[in-house]
Symmetry: C2
Subunit: 322 residues, 2 copies
Amino acid sequence: MTRDNNHKILDCTIRDGGLVNNWDFSVKMVQDMYAGLSEAGVEYMEVGYKNSAKLLKGADAGPWRFLNEDFLKEVIKTKTDTKLSALVDIGRVDENDILPREQSFLDMIRVATYIKDVDKALELVDKFHGYGYETSINIMALSHVMENELAEALEEIAKSPVDVVYVVDSYGSMDYSDIDYLVAKFQRLLPEKRLGVHMHNNMQLAFANTLMAARKGVEFLDASVYGMGRAAGNCTTELLLSNLKNPKYDVRPVLDLIERHLVPTREKVEWGYNIPYMIAGALNEHPRAAMALRASQDKDKYVEFYDKLTSPEAMPTNHHSD
Amino acid sequence: MTRDNNHKILDCTIRDGGLVNNWDFSVKMVQDMYAGLSEAGVEYMEVGYKNSAKLLKGADAGPWRFLNEDFLKEVIKTKTDTKLSALVDIGRVDENDILPREQSFLDMIRVATYIKDVDKALELVDKFHGYGYETSINIMALSHVMENELAEALEEIAKSPVDVVYVVDSYGSMDYSDIDYLVAKFQRLLPEKRLGVHMHNNMQLAFANTLMAARKGVEFLDASVYGMGRAAGNCTTELLLSNLKNPKYDVRPVLDLIERHLVPTREKVEWGYNIPYMIAGALNEHPRAAMALRASQDKDKYVEFYDKLTSPEAMPTNHHSD
């Protein structure tokens, strides 16, 4: 038995799950989530995006997409040992929205970026670090990044004050050998940074990959309750709590959250492993086409979908990286 | 890229999936399955149990539970490159039902056994081997077997004519470190045997564990289309076909099978990952209690179920091994 005492579970149900239900979570559910995750021993809860409504024009979404500090304090009321984090996207965050950490309920700000914008991400990291936050940089779509580009980016990241650097399997296309390779590379090029992983479940590998990363020394493990997240969803919080060998973890409060909140939510909106997401993952493509299929009448026409994605005339959906 | 040319996918949808729908598969579906799996390049299809109706009193089930050779020939008509296998259980097979291989459509007979009956299993293996069949011995519930017992059994198996020896994760409780350990042990103690794995998906690890075993040199990989199988189900055939690097594999015909047959079947009967099966897997228990829960009104009462299984007064369901 390997004790897993140095891991941190970062539950991103409200943030990533919001991509499924347009952040339509009740205040009661978010309060229950914070209480339940705290009781379960989960170290971080990501309560939403700290993007700016002004920069996302026409955006009409629940409050967890544009976290407001006053609202957050009203909801959370009293902090527990579970820290709070928020994610920002390059170009969608108004830096004037961010308070110094001592005035905020947030402990950590994570910056999601594509490889081409790492410079912009590091500028934000500098600022948030200066405000006193823990910071992370989450490089998305790593499976579409060339080696030389990645090496250059990691070199810059190594020099920055960022605390945690994430390996993100945006397309759910990685298996253990990819995790093996990338974690070793990040460890070599970022010897002084803490690492994290954020996996997707297109090929039923999100939990397996996260477990593998954990055993290789990756500290931050992203997960969501019942796997709630865009498309095939994430590594589940309940599987990590059940399997990591840390006496402080207790899966029971999370089972209660699933029973009371996630099962009813799942009856209204869809996420999780299914065949179109599996196909997208196996082909190392953005889930966009599969999501459109699942929202259509043809949601179970797998062969037609497969033929479309694999035909020589297929739209190069994998050349966009958003 | 590692070429995976030496692997054999053994699709057990009809046999293991029959445990879910009481073998209520139409002849048309089984014919389509054989055609589709053949086209996909799958090496073996397990068409059912070769148990005896006489020895399973009161049994009322579809014909795939008690394979009859005449019926099988009528259904399959012409053999392809895809071999056919059947499973037998100790004490439930009438040896007089088994024809010599040259008179049969079956190529392989697999014997499922618990550790205590390995002697009986080997007696059957001897007989089937004498009839000309390829044979395997599938030791179930390995996670409940003590080291000394296992070592003794493997010693006997090493001396037998059996072709393939399976690592079976009956309770879906194993992760990659268990696979690592057991495969290495089997390879060490059975240097002249070919190995196989049969994994269950209680913790979303069936595919990951099977992939890991494949990379460690395990040759026979059990899977089922859409994961159809008892409780949390199996490693899926479509994930193996999509991921193993063998140019002869083509997932497309299996997507067609899913669309035409498995999706409609799944609307009528339940299998696959869910929370009660996850709990049973994490606790290394037989899925029996979870199956009973899923068949009841309380199917989503996860906390109550968890409390029942973890209370000091819990029925020792894990002391039975059937």
